[in-house]
Assembly symmetry: C2
Homo-oligomer: 302 residues x 2
Amino acid sequence: MKNLTPQLQIIKQQINEYIISCDNQQCIDLFNSLPFGKMLRSQLILKIAGISPESLKLCAIIEMIHTSSLLHDDVIDKADTRRGKLTINAKFGDKISILLGDMLYSIAFSQLALMNQNIAYIVANAVTQLSIGEMMDIELANTFNTSYDKYYEMIYKKTGTLIEASSKAAALLASKDSDKYALFGKNLGLAFQMIDDILDITQDSTALGKPSMFDFIDGKVTIPYLLLYERTENKDKLKSLFKVFLSKEDMSWIKEEMQKTKALEDSIAQAVSLGKKALEALKGEDNIFLEELINSMIKRTF
Amino acid sequence: MKNLTPQLQIIKQQINEYIISCDNQQCIDLFNSLPFGKMLRSQLILKIAGISPESLKLCAIIEMIHTSSLLHDDVIDKADTRRGKLTINAKFGDKISILLGDMLYSIAFSQLALMNQNIAYIVANAVTQLSIGEMMDIELANTFNTSYDKYYEMIYKKTGTLIEASSKAAALLASKDSDKYALFGKNLGLAFQMIDDILDITQDSTALGKPSMFDFIDGKVTIPYLLLYERTENKDKLKSLFKVFLSKEDMSWIKEEMQKTKALEDSIAQAVSLGKKALEALKGEDNIFLEELINSMIKRTF
């Protein structure tokens, strides 16, 4: 817990208490071996709803749901590391990772059942959308997807909905305008995922913690590739590089074509535009932290 | 849906509507390819709570949760067939099976969030126990378990809790004595699992749809093996047969020892005793169907 702020430590402690109350030593040990990230969703919730027993509980619930989805993701992607640590599936096998995910999901839902019914429904429904988004992600990777609408729908479901639900639920807790905060969360989530998709191309493997341009190798036609396919004169060559090992020359060609066609530049512009939409949604809400968060996301070097 | 009674068809139709409302063709197709069993839990709910929009909704929720756990189980056990049909993981891969399970879980929880809060908590909490039970099942299979208490706790969590919760929630819906029905469901669930564990030994592979005595090969020291280990003079031989391929001679030896030590007979007696406890819990409730259900379970040929 060393790197977490005191507030985020309280959230981790809250989750810990839920796990301990299940009275199973294996689950307690497994949970303690899980790495926690920056808890973006909890940061949002606390900045929107302030700190109260209810908002901390909502944070714990959302983090458990997010962690569950990562545990299942790592099995699906056969991932060995996450946040610089060995994944649960790499250490203890797929079975344990699936079941620990199920356990965290159900603890989260048990606690959610004790909250305001409207909030419970919003969060549970976001998890459904998240699962559908994950399925779309796999389905879209079967062939070279050229539909922007499908990509947009997929990233909205996979990443946008849980951030949207976190933001909306926090606003409801704080009796703020939930529609505004839902729109903010949705656009923040979309921008967040697009930026992630862009960094996969612009960052090297050290910064990414995985091979550069791995998305395309993995079958994921993200926003820069969608724009490139639309604009390049050599569509066949681009298609021939889909889901295969990429040599240094292949990677250079893709990057050069992205520069030439402005596919990368316009992808960044789209992400920035979504970030601005998120900010606009909050006009008049006077929440400096959230403005800073968005600005730090979109004013970065790509 | 051919083999389902009209009531159970309505439940499947209800689940279908939830899936359709998610508006994803892949999920709809996958759901339609799932085989449904006898829906024991729904039968219980309808017999306890009668037929109403709320009880049918509870049935749909419980069946979605049960189906999700089977989808994840089949990935964990690398199972190819279930109920005589190819499993989703065998047909479409582990990824799809995990995510379809997650999706059904979350739809179930979304609908649960709209129900009575007490019922929502009871059911969600049972799912947590179910996941812990599954983890215990895997953990116990790592070594030769000789603890009856651990076996009992594991089958209670893995199988008992969801049947207990179904029964209790149905009683709450019908304003019946929920403690009585919870106790009934718990003991029914325990008896049900013990009988399943006994049939693994007494039935042949055709009746089981999997190799006979597969539990022991798979590392599961079920009730007849626990009693046998306690009583046999040849503990070393029994241990040497744990988690290995069993020849015909090995199987015969185990079965003969089980006869000689009355391990099998006493296991059946325990299951019957649990069935009777379930009946006792319902004394004065005058529910002939439930009595018949228990009697058909415990008065069978093993």
